[in-house]
């Protein structure tokens, strides 16, 4: 027994404290582990510090320390008068700020631009915060209603008719073109070697054209009568509202289930009526501000928002077309996408500015801004199509097979099952495309539109403000604006990506 007790050991005194482990957190830890842990790393740290020293310090000095903050014209920013090496010339930005934001938009009408900016912010912010409800209404307001309202706000002008007259006018135009083509074929058949074939084809087209003109006759008759009345817009509006609501009611399920569709339709038309009344569209609307007066940030935002809104439907249509099994549609989509993706945007803008007017009827002139918008929409649409296609490919086949097993049609399968999932997958890619679209809008300055960069460049040539630091100041200001927008969008895309990948995190 005593052996055991003598062998057992019980410590009676405390051990001396061990030294604390080397700190690897906090600033000291960071310095120890990631900055100065080896000779190479010390050298690299010195290189990095030198790089920062030679970029950050001069920039801060230029933007803040050496800057001139007040003044009336260039004399304030000349080194002789200031008494030191002048950095940024901020009075120049103050003087040119209206031009950089609104371009030559008339001063009395600038409130319209401000209202548009405000409206877009009010609609966009709730759309971007995932926690807020009513995303569907919000999205349709932003993507459908807002562009129309913004058009009448920024451009001005009113409407002379409504849905009925527009439909009638469009159909008439289409019919005239068909009859014209038939006539041309008939004329050609008199001289051509394959005369009879052309003659029969021409006659067939003429027949179709005449049939269409008989078909649309009630519509054109009605619209002509409405145009003759005292209040054409409101009568046309009422007729259109009644017809569309009735159609929605019937298609929505009639008496049994159509109430919801009817209520939606009526609500939409009441909204439209409020907008027409508020903006006085039936009485000629706001004074017209032609687009060659627009400029600065306004044009940049108009081009990018229009590009975003129009390119997405084009992209979805092209992506679906590219995945379709119908040969002609697939071939067309592939050719279309690869064509626009293969050429630089600037040639697309040249195409839209110089070539597009030649393709339209001679009496039909298109505004310079609209031409650029068409080019950008087609170009971005092709890129969006590839993004959307990536999302469509990521949806397992079982989803559409299950929908088919439930008896859903192709349209319902696509719009209710496949597309919502696919689009959710590719939100980050879509936002990335929007960022490059936003950056690419600067190219419109090459085709004589004064966007932010174009206005900036124009302001350099003002002799009133020509100083050695004017160019640098202007670029610093525009660069900050571009950076804030693009960086904000890219951070948002990262945030959405993070949220969507919540199930993959651990």
């Amino acid at each position: 027994m005593s052996d055991v007790t003598s062998l057992s050991f019980v410590r009676r005194d405390l051990l001396a404290e061990r030294p604390a482990p080397v700190k690897t957190t906090g600033f000291i830890g960071l310095m120890r582990t990631r900055l100065f842990n080896s000779p190479t790393n010390i050298l690299l740290t010195v290189v990095g510090a030198l790089l920062l020293w030679f970029t950050i310090v001069p920039s801060v000095k230029f933007l803040m320390v050496d800057a001139v903050w007040t003044g009336q014209d260039r004399t304030a920013c000349l080194p002789e008068n200031a008494g030191f090496v002048v950095g940024a010339c901020w009075p120049y930005i103050q003087a040119k700020l209206p031009q950089l934001i609104y371009g030559f938009y008339p001063e009395a009408e600038r409130w319209r631009v401000n209202v548009t900016f405000l409206l877009s912010a009010v609609l966009l912010v709730p759309l971007l915060v995932p926690r807020l409800p009513a995303k569907g209404i919000n999205a349709s307001l932003f993507f459908v209603a807002f562009p129309v309202v913004a058009f009448f706000l920024l451009y001005g002008g009113g409407i002379k008719g409504f849905g009925l007259s527009w439909t009638a006018g469009l159909l008439q135009l289409f019919d005239e073109s068909i009859i014209g083509a038939g006539q041309a074929l008939l004329n050609l058949s008199k001289t051509s070697a394959i005369g009879p074939l052309l003659w029969s084809l021409g006659s067939l087209i003429m027949l179709v054209g005449t049939a269409i003109s008989w078909l649309i006759f009630p519509l054109t008759w009605l619209s002509d009568h409405i145009q003759g009345t005292a209040q054409p817009v409101w009568i046309d509006f009422a007729v259109t509202a009644a017809i569309v609501s009735l159609v929605a009611f019937v298609l929505g399920g009639g008496v049994r289930a159509g109430g919801r569709a009817l209520v939606t339709s009526v609500a939409v038309f009441i909204g439209i009526a409020v907008v027409i009344q508020l903006m006085g569209l039936d009485r000629g609307g706001l004074p017209v501000v032609s687009t060659n007066l627009w400029g600065g940030l306004l044009v940049t935002l108009v081009v990018s928002v229009t590009g975003i809104v129009t390119s997405l439907p084009i992209g979805i249509a092209l992506a679906l077309g590219r995945r379709s099994t119908i040969p002609l549609i697939r071939i067309f989509s592939i050719t279309f996408i690869e064509f626009w993706r293969g050429v630089p945007l600037i040639t697309v803008l040249f195409f839209a500015t110089y070539m597009l007017p030649l393709f339209l009827p001679g009496n039909f002139s298109v505004d310079g801004l609209v031409r650029a918008l068409i080019g950008i929409a087609l170009f971005t649409g092709a890129y969006q199509a590839e993004n959307v296609r990536g999302g469509l490919a990521a949806i397992p086949r079982g989803q559409s097979e299950a929908a088919a097993a439930l008896g859903l049609s192709w349209w319902k399968t696509t719009s209710l099952i496949v597309l919502p999932q696919a689009l959710r997958h590719v939100i980050p890619n879509l936002v990335n495309s929007f960022i490059s679209l936003f950056k690419d809008t600067s190219l419109v300055s090459i085709v004589a539109l004064f966007d932010l960069l174009g206005s900036l460049r124009a302001s350099f040539s003002d002799p009133k403000w020509s100083t050695p630091s004017t160019a640098f100041t202007g670029f610093a200001f525009a660069g900050i604006i571009y950076f804030v927008f693009c960086f904000g969008m890219s951070r948002y895309s990262l945030f959405v990506e993070h949220r969507l990948n919540a199930h993959r995190r651990n």
Partner: protein, 401 residues
Amino acid sequence: MSTEARKPPPQIALKIRRILGGRAGWNGVAVQFAFAAILGWIGYEIISNARANLENQHIAAGFGFLRNNAGFDVNQTLISYSGSDTFLRVFVVGLLNTLVVSAVGIVFATVIGFIVALCRLSPNWLLSRVSEIYVEVIRNLPLLFQILFWYLAVLAALPNPRQSISLLGIAFISNRGLVIPSAIGERGLEPFLAMLAFGVVASLALHFHARRALFRQGRVIRIWPYVLGLLFGLPLATVLMFGLPLTFELPQLRGFNFAGGSRIIPEFVALTLALSTYTAAFIAEIVRAGILSVHKGQMEAGSSLGLSRGATLRLIVVPQAMRVIVPPLTNQYLNLTKNSSLAVAIGYPDLVSVFAGTSLSQTGQAIEIIAMTMGMYLLISLFTSAVMSVYGWRVNRGLGA
């Protein structure tokens, strides 16, 4: 009595329907007819409108204008060109200028991009932060903004040639562009180049031979002394025999400008700077993603096999990373080539600037000129994607084997 499986019915009608109308069957055929009719109608409208508009503007359609005299000068030409040359020659001059700025830009962009990517991956915290800032700032500013910044702000702020900044006394940079020594070929140039070419071909052949021997028979052949001799020894020997291949003419300041040397126009400098720094930021991200895509275990497995760190990187990590890097990298090269068309904003005489810009405004042949310009870019990108699909096919074959 044998029960053979019945042959499936031929279902010819079904097959025809599938070919003509896809999975939608006869509905698909109907949709195609409607679609073709709409396309035909649009095409008819475009052609008839274009014809009428051209008639109104008294412009003769066709490519005959290409043989007319251009009558304007171009301030950077790689082939001899004067104002009395044809528009076709203008097209070639512009195309060559585009290609040269793209090639130079690609080289610089790749070098800067790889350096920035390595800095971003470096264990040094400060350096990786600095390169992150570089990538974020450059990627979030429009390219046109950067081109104009370099051209209108930085290059315009440089001193005039008399006070130009000297780079080691060899090259001089001023607001009139960059002046570098020009190389003049001497008598020894031809044998030197011939020997150099021979050396390169012979070294490649040796490399293939050594690889074959290693893979087929497991023999390791040491080839580097021979390669060194072929690549440096032979050309050196020709230099000793025939004299120097090149002499450099240094630029000298005379009066208000430089004499001698060759001048690179400021537009080229600004465009190359902007294109290469912009694309480098994208390349840096691609390279970083490629290197991070190789699993950490690969490195560990390599060292557990007893390979050195360098050998593991060279033989295991880089080949796998390259497979991820190369396709988007090519895409960036293509983007750079397409972006070089922004030259038109600062007046560098590239394809868009001299052909779709000046020639278009002189002749008014919008359709032909823009079609040719777009077609050229399309050709370049189709060619690149063809090369890339061959590459992808080879990589996949390598994976399968």
